[in-house]
């Protein structure tokens, strides 16, 4: 019995194990190229967002240099604002550090660290929400509803946070976190149950649940959960339910970041080191084989959806307990939707998701600065995001653009399925 037995099906055999660095290079190459491509294309939008620059382009035939120079200047300003907004100015940081060491005056250092602080604070909910979507993908579920789950999680955490008074931190904080996770889990589990027992596709049901969650939040914040006064916002969360801050004011860095890293480790451990994770991944990779192997597809859909929802709920919870400390109607700026790009960029692996989230935290912090310093609407982030999703999901497209040769992928990652149950 010698190969090739079934000639047409036979495929080239990949090398047994690649060297670590080559493997890392291969793994990072496409995502990095995807981001670079997306950023390059976004530059076009940055240029057309400025009517003055566009006006110069109209006269391109007369004075080509002027339009080009203006565009270049616009981009330079924009990306410099982004870098400074996301990472800060290294010179200032070094200066601040020296001042602190020599004089003990930390104000300058703290100020110079604000950009990094913002990046890390923004990444925290991203990590949670990205993990939520990634976990769903591993089970073949596309949880577009992270945003809604994040809202109900935040609502529950807020309620526990302000309504119970006089508890010590060690009880109140975990309780609030648990409430947030549980609310998100229940909200997502609805879609899981529907998928498992009726075959209703989770993409549509989770989106519908998003809208329902937003209306629910409107109702609660204008009614039962409204604080006295004019604005539709909740009462402030008790201090005993705050996620402890880890940096002096005005920095906002809080312990939620480490909680998110812990969650990432948990997801890794759960998916690859436990039998439950094996089941979830098997259902995701081949539901028919899972059934054959005695794994309940329905149960795993529900479990995976609930866990995914719990993580999304924690994304909202960490924002409430770590940053806002009260709930307002428009409190989330689309973390739930951004998380789809994060999960894809991170190839649904916790490590990848953490890295992608840090990048996104940086992009967002940078974009905020771009808006204030260069007048570029923050929605540029969403444009980048849409393109990153496309490029990551279409490696062939990136290879086509950058003329990178295809390498044999070791087992494809399956993300979603069609309408069928």
């Amino acid at each position: 019995m010698t190969a090739p037995e079934v000639a047409v099906e036979a495929q080239p055999q990949p090398p047994v194990r690649r060297a670590f660095w080559r493997q890392a290079f291969q793994a990072l190459l496409l995502p990095v190229l995807a981001i670079v491509t997306a950023l390059l294309l976004s530059s076009v939008f940055i240029i057309i967002s400025d009517p003055e620059v566009v006006a110069l382009w109209r006269e391109i035939t007369v004075a080509p240099g002027v339009a080009l120079a203006a565009s270049w200047e616009k981009l330079r300003l924009a990306y410099r604002a982004m870098l400074e907004g996301g990472l800060g100015n290294p010179a200032l940081i070094w200066q601040g550090f020296q001042t602190w060491v020599t004089t003990g005056d930390a104000t300058q250092l703290v100020k110079s660290l604000e950009a990094i602080d913002r990046t890390l604070v923004y990444s925290t909910p991203y990590i949670f929400a990205g993990l939520a979507v990634a976990l769903g993908f591993r089970c073949g579920l596309f949880n577009i509803g992270a945003e809604g789950q994040l809202f109900v999680g935040a609502l529950a955490a807020t309620y526990i946070g302000y309504s119970i008074k006089g508890l010590p931190l060690v009880i109140h904080l975990p309780l609030a976190l648990a409430a947030g996770a549980a609310a998100g889990a229940v909200w997502a589990a609805v879609a899981g149950v529907l998928k498992a027992y009726t075959g209703a596709h989770e993409v549509v049901t989770t989106i519908m649940l998003n809208y329902i969650a937003f209306r629910l939040s409107d109702f609660l914040l204008t009614g039962p959960m409204k604080r006295s006064g004019f604005n539709p916002v909740s009462p402030p969360v008790e201090e005993s339910a705050w996620l402890p801050k880890l940096a002096p004011d005005p920095l906002r860095f809080h312990s939620g970041f480490f909680l998110a890293l812990l969650a990432a480790y948990f997801v890794y451990w759960f998916l690859w080191k436990t039998t439950w994770g094996f089941e979830i991944r098997t259902v995701g990779a081949n539901p028919d084989a899972a059934r054959y192997a005695g794994i309940s597809i329905a149960r795993n859909y529900i479990i995976a959806m609930a866990l995914s929802g719990a993580l999304a709920g924690l994304a909202g919870t960490s924002e409430i307990l770590g940053v806002n400390r009260f709930m307002a109607q428009a409190f989330s700026s689309g973390y739930g939707f951004d998380s789809i790009a994060l999960a894809l960029l991170g190839k649904s692996h916790p490590t990848g998701v953490v890295l992608a989230s840090l990048l996104w935290g940086f992009l967002r912090a940078g974009a905020t600065r771009m808006q204030s310093a260069a007048g570029i609407p923050i929605d540029i982030v969403q444009i980048v995001q849409g393109m990153v999703i496309v490029f990551v999901a279409a490696p062939a497209l990136v290879r086509f653009i950058w003329r990178v040769r295809a390498v044999q992928e070791e087992g494809e990652t399956i993300f979603t399925r069609g309408w069928g149950a």
Binding site: F45, S49, D50, P51, F142, I144, L194, T198, G199, A200, H201, V203, V204, T205, I207, M208, L209, N210, Y211, I212, R215, L216, D218, F219, T222, G223, F337, I340, A341, L344, G375, I376, P377, D379, I380, V381, Q382, I383, V384, Q385, G386, M387, I389, V390, A393, A394, A396, L397, F415, T416, R417, G418, W419, G420
Partner: protein, 423 residues
């Protein structure tokens, strides 16, 4: 062992269970009608339903329909109970259709309760149902066109949003609504083409490709509306298409104002429903589309170009979504607001599934969603004791319920969502 000796009763077993469950469901509705509505209506109150709407063209006016609310609700409850009893005792041949009847009975009872002692314009609400069904219908038709060739289009929402934007900008800039309409259609078609490139040529997971289009559309329209429309308000003031009464037909009482005195986009919509049906089931092109959606390899072996077929129908699907987008701006409010599509594209997909991937089925389903939407608005006007936020949830909840297949499941085209790899 002979074939004739089979015990066929075993096969009836599971159908019987379902029949009983449905019977109980019908009875539950009867009880709900008596319990929720009957006691909460003032004795002697009557519900007044208006049958005229104020428009430029006036059909001969009809007197208002006045119904004594309490006896009517009681009676409706009896009908529901009777149907439930019949279902349990004898069973219906089409229990799902009966379920539809029961739901309508329940809705009528609800309306009677809400209108008791007040007056409510019924025709106005039906007219508004058709209008609210419009974007959903376009969404459903777009979905039908794409999915009949097995490309799932989750990006309908984004296509609509982008088309709504370009439609209003072009119409404002050219001062011509028709140019706006053309721009919207082209925008939708362009995004459809993008989806086709991603899904057909690059074989990107179709749901992810659609999601990318959605996110991109939200980002781009918000970005441009903040950077441009905020500064140039004049680019966001297109006005809207006015209703065009069709001579004679518009004079028919009730039907006239609903169907024959609407704006051009609604006429296009009704035309498209019929046209899509004919194309899909009675032309060469439709036969090929369906073959590509069901069994692309079979189509390929008969010399049909699977990729080209998918490209064309997905692009057409995008153009239809573009028309839906135009409805939001040019067909109704005349200006663009960020994220104004509010999930209608997704509801359209649900309508497509509910309508079993057919244009006419999709339209009927859209009307049901449109009704839920219109009802929600009218109920807020009648000031019934339900918070408005919960009424606003209605269309979304209906979508989930419908998707869950309470009303029976249909099979999608066999190859739906699978990229075709030519060997």
């Amino acid at each position: 062992m002979k074939a004739g000796t089979l015990d066929w009763s075993t096969f009836r077993h599971q159908y019987l269970t379902r029949d009983r469950v449905l019977g109980v469901v019908y009875l539950t509705f009867a009880v709900l009608i008596w319990w929720l509505f009957f006691p909460n209506i003032e004795p002697g109150a009557s519900a007044k339903f208006g049958l005229n709407i104020v428009t430029a063209v006036k059909p001969p006016p009809l007197p208002d329909l006045v119904v004594p609310a309490r006896p009517a609700v009681l009676f409706l409850g009896f009908i529901a109970a009777f149907l439930g009893g019949w279902q349990l005792a004898r069973g219906f041949r089409e229990p799902q259709a009966v379920l539809g009847v029961i739901l309508i009975i329940f809705l009528v009872a609800f309306l009677l309760w809400a209108t008791a002692g007040k007056s409510f314009n019924l025709v106005g609400m039906l007219a508004s149902t058709l209008l609210r069904a419009a974007p959903i219908t376009f969404g459903a038709l777009s979905g039908v066109w794409c999915e009949r060739t097995a490309v799932i289009n989750i990006g309908i929402e984004g296509m609509m949003l982008s088309a709504a934007f370009t439609g209003v900008v072009v119409a404002s800039a050219t001062q011509n609504l028709y140019w706006g309409l053309v721009a919207a259609v082209l925008t939708g078609g362009l995004l459809g083409l993008v989806l086709a490139v991603l899904a057909v040529t690059f074989r990107v997971d179709q749901i992810i490709a659609g999601t990318a289009i959605n996110i991109f559309a939200v980002g781009l329209t918000s970005f441009l509306s903040q950077s441009w429309l905020a500064v140039r308000q004049d680019l966001n003031a297109a006005g809207n298409f006015k209703p065009i009464p069709i001579p004679v037909l518009a004079q028919i009482p009730i039907l006239g104002p609903i169907f024959f005195n609407v704006n051009i986009i609604i006429y296009i919509m009704m035309l498209l429903v019929v046209l899509s049906h004919i194309v899909l089931f009675h032309t060469r092109w439709g036969l090929r589309m369906r073959a590509v959606g069901e069994h692309p390899r079979a189509a390929d072996t008969l010399g049909i170009n699977v990729y080209l077929t998918r490209y064309i129908s997905v692009t057409i699907g995008g153009m239809i979504a573009g028309l839906g987008g135009a409805y939001f701006t040019l067909g109704s409010v005349g200006r663009f607001d960020e994220v104004m599509t509010a999930g209608k594209g997704f509801i359209g997909l649900a309508a497509m599934i509910f309508g079993k991937w057919t244009p006419i089925g999709g339209f009927i389903a859209s009307v049901i969603f449109g009704f839920a939407d219109a009802l929600q608005v009218k109920m807020a006007i009648l000031r019934i004791p339900i918070p408005s936020e919960f009424l606003l949830m209605a269309p979304y909840i209906v979508t989930i319920v419908v998707l869950s297949g309470v009303v029976g499941r249909a099979l999608p085209p066999a190859a739906d969502g699978q990229p075709y790899v030519k060997e």
